[in-house]
Amino acid sequence: MRRKKEIPLEHAPEITVTVNGTIVTRRVPARRHLIDFLREELGLTGSHTGCEHGVCGACTVRVDGRIVRGCLMLAVQADGRRVDTIEGLSDSGELGELQEAFHRRNALQCGFCTPGMLLAAQDLVAGHPDASRSEIREHLSGNYCRCTGYQAIVDAVEDVLAARRKST
């Protein structure tokens, strides 16, 4: 008979994550979402908790350079990875052009969706600079805004893409 191994089950594994360039080591309950880890343990409250089941996009953050839903990833799954949030990407200046365009175009009212919207928009600006208006809409389809009706948001992203094309 095969020997039964004792299997170690962890309720609060230790994780090490590089958050906005800073290495952070913490013990976290397995059930804690990445978004709650960022907001509640690290005080990075710029990314928001909205629907908590992957529909609204308010919790969008970047993991290893790609946007993800912070409510559909456990903090333990981010172990060993790089996480960037609206705070880090604002400080680095990476989102500067978009933030300026959002401001100018009135692309936010209450601002709840804005951090997620900016991360999703930047993903498009960096990866698909030739995007058409309908491609912008498609790329932002996973981010709900309940105030502006999206036109101004799409306008702002379009402005940034157009300015970039002009300058190159």
Binding site: K4, K5, I7, P8, L9, E10, H11, P13, P29, A30, R31, H33, D36, E52, H53, G54, G57, T60, R66, I67, V68, R69, C71, L72, M73, L74, V76, Q77, D79, A120, D123, R137, E138, H139, S141, G142, N143
Partner: protein
């Protein structure tokens, strides 16, 4: 809401996964991308005692082409498939379907194998795999067995997977150059669960005649199924207003949609006919 408490293990090998499944039985769930599982945990629709994270098991990842056979690892993400030049060349149906799966941030994490094993009736990959006649490679302590996609999906969230098994990879034969494919889906918001969708594949002759036609729907029944009456109505024909109408008529025998949050059964049948016309037009183009 927040997920209920559970224990977590990051498995390093398939052997470790088999041990854990044997030890914990149905109180354990496999965690891949988690894009469906975590949502259902957050909504307290599931309460496993243990999550077994399989995302660090290298042999479950990657997309590999060997001759005419494409092997897609269970951990390949939707985004990887969408970006893959090999997939675009050999299995264009998957490239066509990928952009319809949820949103960018979810496609970056959600996996091919996870979606197939979850078997959501509105998911895109199951219908594609049925149409492509894919083989699912299921691994367990006892060994490996292969199950055809058409036998794998057995009902609402029900598959041929046994409790001690894991879907390791999917094998699909490349579709040849004289084949055409189309994927059409309708949803309220781009990326939301499909109200109705269709995957279609056919061989097309130089004269535009379709043969070996395969059509499967999502969002209209508990599991993807071939629309056999419609397929028969089109076999050996050219796409025209008449053949589209005949295929649409035959769909009445193929589909028995049930109403959901998005649409009444009659609306779904109507929309299924609409997208069948679009898919056939795309095949003929």
């Amino acid at each position: 809401m927040k997920a209920p408490p559970f224990a977590y293990v990051r498995a390093r090998s398939l052997g470790e996964v088999f041990d854990l499944l044997e030890h914990h039985g149905e109180s354990a769930r496999l965690l891949a991308g988690g894009q469906s599982l975590l949502a259902s945990l957050n909504m307290r629709l599931a309460a496993p005692e243990l999550l077994i994270d399989i995302t660090h098991i290298a042999e479950l990842s990657g997309i590999e082409v060997r001759g005419r056979k494409i092997r897609i690892g269970a951990l390949a993400t939707h985004a990887e498939i969408q970006r893959s030049a090999e997939i675009a060349r050999h299995l264009p149906l998957l490239s066509q379907a990928a952009p319809h799966i949820a949103h960018v941030a979810i496609r970056n994490v959600g996996t091919f194998g996870g979606s197939l094993a979850h078997a959501d009736p509105a998911a895109e990959w199951p219908a594609c795999c049925v149409v492509l006649d894919a083989q699912f490679v299921l691994r367990s302590r006892a060994g490996t067995r292969r199950v055809a996609a058409r036998e794998f999906f057995q009902g609402l969230y029900a598959t041929a997977l046994r409790p001690n098994e894991i879907l390791a990879q999917v094998e699909v034969a490349a579709t040849g150059t004289n084949w055409r494919s189309a994927f059409v889906e309708l949803s309220r918001r781009r990326g939301d669960y499909a109200t109705v969708g269709v995957a279609a594949l056919a061989r097309k002759s130089a004269r535009g005649v379709l043969s070996d036609l395969r059509v499967a729907f999502l969002g209209v029944g508990p599991a993807p199924a071939l629309a056999r009456a419609s397929m028969a109505a089109l076999e050996g024909k050219r796409v025209s207003a008449d053949t589209i109408a005949a295929a649409g008529e035959a769909l009445g025998q193929d589909l028995e949609p049930s109403a959901d949050l998005h649409a009444a059964a009659s609306t779904k049948l109507h929309l299924a006919r609409v997208i069948t016309g679009r898919a056939l037009t795309a095949l003929a183009a």
